[in-house]
Symmetry: C2
Subunit: 699 residues, 2 copies
Amino acid sequence: MSQPLTTVAGISFRQPPPLCSFLFIIVLLVATFYTLHHPDATPPHLFSPNTHNSLTLRRLFLSSASNATVSSYLHSLTRHPHLAGTKPSLDTLNYVLTHFQSLRLDDTRVVEYEALLSYPTHISVTARFSNNTTVEFDLNDDVSSSSGVVTPYHAYSPSGSAQGTVVFVNRGEERDYRALEVIGVSVRGCLVLARKGETLGRGVVVKIAETKGALGVLIYDEKDGGALGGIERGTVMRGIGDPVSPGWPGVVGGEKLSLDDDRVSRRFPKIPSLPLSLHNAEIILASLGGARAPVEWRSGRVGSSQRVGPGRVVVNMTLQGEMKMKKIHNVVATIRGSEEPDRYVILGNHRDAWTYGAVDPNSGTSALLDIGRRFSLLLESGWRPRRTILLCSWDAEEFGMIGSTEWVEEHVLNLGASAVAYLNVDCAVQGSGFFAGATPQLDSVLVDALKLVQDPDDVTLTVEETFKSQNNNIERLSRVDSDFSGFLHHAGIPSIDMYYGADYPVYHTAFDSYDWMIRNADPLFHRHVAMGGIWGLLGIILADEPVLPFDYISYAEQLQAHRDAVSKLLEGKVSVDPLSVAIQEFSLVAKEVADEAKKLKEQAYSKYDVAVAAKRRELNDRMMLAERGFLDSEGIKGKEWFKHLVYGPAAEPESKLCFFPGIADAIATNSSDGSIKHEIWRVTRAIQRASKALKGGFT
Amino acid sequence: MSQPLTTVAGISFRQPPPLCSFLFIIVLLVATFYTLHHPDATPPHLFSPNTHNSLTLRRLFLSSASNATVSSYLHSLTRHPHLAGTKPSLDTLNYVLTHFQSLRLDDTRVVEYEALLSYPTHISVTARFSNNTTVEFDLNDDVSSSSGVVTPYHAYSPSGSAQGTVVFVNRGEERDYRALEVIGVSVRGCLVLARKGETLGRGVVVKIAETKGALGVLIYDEKDGGALGGIERGTVMRGIGDPVSPGWPGVVGGEKLSLDDDRVSRRFPKIPSLPLSLHNAEIILASLGGARAPVEWRSGRVGSSQRVGPGRVVVNMTLQGEMKMKKIHNVVATIRGSEEPDRYVILGNHRDAWTYGAVDPNSGTSALLDIGRRFSLLLESGWRPRRTILLCSWDAEEFGMIGSTEWVEEHVLNLGASAVAYLNVDCAVQGSGFFAGATPQLDSVLVDALKLVQDPDDVTLTVEETFKSQNNNIERLSRVDSDFSGFLHHAGIPSIDMYYGADYPVYHTAFDSYDWMIRNADPLFHRHVAMGGIWGLLGIILADEPVLPFDYISYAEQLQAHRDAVSKLLEGKVSVDPLSVAIQEFSLVAKEVADEAKKLKEQAYSKYDVAVAAKRRELNDRMMLAERGFLDSEGIKGKEWFKHLVYGPAAEPESKLCFFPGIADAIATNSSDGSIKHEIWRVTRAIQRASKALKGGFT
């Protein structure tokens, strides 16, 4: 397998589909032209040895980007489907491994775990209509070539048959069932058909249907993806990480629980579920009798004549699957820090894909591989980061963030003691527009990085300018949909997650291919390059700045806003004063720390000044540790593995806040005032712990 | 209040009892003579400024001891009873506070918490014999002057009356009840009378009696203490720390649970209990009818004619107590480190006492105050420790380690990140012979310190020589009987606990006075001085050594021995292979770390060498962190607050190991092989975490 280290040379092809090849060659030509004429695309031999000047270094890094190289990486990565735990996925593993090895970084290794993965063996859905005709649905994506692509399924759905009349449940939210109840429709003993919504994950849709007494769940996507003929695969496992080693690393030879252990079985739904194409769903929808759909459901493709069932159609869904212990493989490449080798900045992306994974996740992988290449060039030019940088390629994310979660579980103690930040990119490019989520102390360093990178869609602007002009806010990372979850929610590591494009139609379908990428999302790989620039730059800044560029004043302001939102939601029912007092204290300490950081940054500093080095280290350690304060060993009630009390998943689908999950759950479940108070106190104490960590010492 | 900074001058008296004064003056005369003629008692002005030579420094420290000064401290501390939460205890607080303040250390402050304490308001025990005579027992210690001493009671025993016939239950262990069952005796509906044993705490004796259906519990001490006429007070609370803020710091204004909250009420027994004098107990014992006591009970004062009851005597015990929120006060004095101010060596002792507290705990307090004085002299001479030293005086230990536990709960995150070791001394002197418990990586530094200190009972020997000749082993700290518990069992801080004398008769009685100390345990305060020497020296060594003197090979050997003991107990029923493999790995890493430490110690080192400083710090951090690996966020089943899986309290009274409490419990309760295996795996993973911490990084 080739190791393209320079702009064009050394790219090999292995029988790509003809259309791909054609488009790819065009891209290459354009990219080569671009590279030669673009002043930023400095070839390696122009690197200045003066890499200790941080601005020069950052410019050098940015100038070393190469669209064509990224494109070639993506092309190689997406040649065939590479679902985790399958043989073809080993090719992708080897590609990434060989790439990092060829760069001669300080260490590159495969980190192996065993995990319980889930695959379909036989799936069928048939519908018998009132006229006694029967249709057996085609369950595959409507795509010309999908050889080797797994049939659309829900991983960890139980095997079995379910047969019954169908009820359309809109998006399958609690309020949808309440609306059905109003019109006297129950789903007990029926199959439910749900269209994909914006808020609930498919696992939650299944869980709610299960509690309502449904026998099985069919989910379809009525938006672009469905319209294209794609069908969305996905996991319905509850919680994240290997289900048979819950809370501990699934190392080879380690403890594995049996499938009938309650700690395992509660991770899986009790009723089967399947994704269905829009086409098939509409056949069922058209045949439904019963009452008309509630008015508030009428949107998208659901019109005023839609009926909710049950009746007039009986559907049988049968699925046979197998759960198997499989080896999964992370790749971790290390660039050792010069002055603080025991402090770590971690860049991570997953490698496994439901299908070809051009967007999800290998747009991110190709950006990561290019960052590796560019870091290697910087190293050759004399650079060495102050802190250690890890470049991580995770496996089995699609099954529930398994590769990264097992790694976090294995290293949680050392992560807590030595990880500065985790920078995640999953789908680097799915469309246009830059989006990011971050823990708030990283807001300002993120914005600083955006200021240095050219907008891929408008050469006259920086990414920061476009980001601002589009009124995009930095999101907060309570969602559990990519590999940052274990780092932030379990280990309390400050994290960033970034992507281009808010949404994309081929999500988890067989259409997510290199072809689709170059036709739709990033024909010239400019967005990939921009993402690689931002991501790598953040890595360099966080690894190199003697004083960590953490901004806890931003965190304090964000906590204040969260407090206000809680207060509003509570309407004076329960006092939030403890939170207010704790945030005020946190804010004061944050200001002191900012002053201290400013002074230390300005302080004249010789390499040989042990005292200044110690002071900086000490301040950095406090800023690094503060995020850990938000962890609580008891975790979120009902989701105890998730320890972060500020950002993390609520256990209740009806929770109305995307922060303070414990408080949100207590309010959503109409808990007693005492329970809400207790959750407010828990967050209060978490903020107090963070203040104490930020302050240091014991006073 | 006086601040005796030199050998004799400046000691004030506040109307001490005449006998005390007389003895004290004699002690002072002897001590002054001793001080003047003893070559080690160098007055401050002889201090050499060359304090950077560590051996010189250690000698200077040892030579600055003063028996008379320690004696004067103890005398002042024990003038009156100073039970936590009572007004007189504030005098003792002020004495300690003023002392540290006068030394002009870098910081001295009072750290206040609110905690639920428990006091008796009315107690009575009456016995009605078969001849219809009634006796109301005198419930006070048989001591001439005990004004202000609290009536003997069990803190947190519920208020109420219990009346019934009495059953003698030997030591109140499970096997004692089994022996009673064999002879057909049930305690259901009866009061039980138990003699104090060696193994079970009084709280557990009450808990077992409760599960057997007893209505109330009377406990007496048949050994010296009882024979003297003393009655042992104590707490019967389950778990440690403030019961209304379980798991979080009881800061003023913080969350407090109500008494009827299950998390609070389960901390208290459901049946009343009281301590009884030996005299009163023997009156009851003599009147018991029923079967003869089982043969195996016949020991001490229980003879072959003893009957177990029930019948022939009906006892009514009535107790009214009050549980009150009280302010408690820790004192924390700080000596800031020069080079690593953010690393902490913590010396701690509690201050509160059931009565006068001459042994328990103020022998330790007087040693701590003297260490403060001597450190202050060293500071004046130019010394400054490399790391920060904290001298801590805890409150409300007697109620359940409350002062230290709340402090640990408040600072658990910063402790985890920056505490090198916790050095506890509770009863510094209760008799002869040096005893110590330690986490095993501190064994060798402890022994090294013992080698430098003269045996107080034989000037020709060092403490180490006597310790060795008496075949005393360093104990392991699974017990929960002093302030190290929170530090080690909850926060994973390497700890040492030390005392002179294995046992003493006046434990928790009104006899525990200055008088008793100078008559019985340490007339010339040599043992106090020796303890102060060892304790302070350990503080200096751990604070000053550039490379921490931690020995993880010793830990590995100890783990190996523990593994062997588990294996023996299991008789091959369940494999301990996972443990073996993990310990082998731990052992290898320990050896690598030892080599690394040796090299770094030998490496030529300039003060200005940032790289060497960073390497030492990095190695030290790994050695510091490794103990944290033994913590598990789920804790010990049934005692979840206790997170340390190697050392900590078993939840089951019948557990047979004083280490690996989770495994011990699983074996003791005849759990399924699966449960035992799971506990073995949990310890295995704890050892793996410790190995990873010791190794550092993520490979």
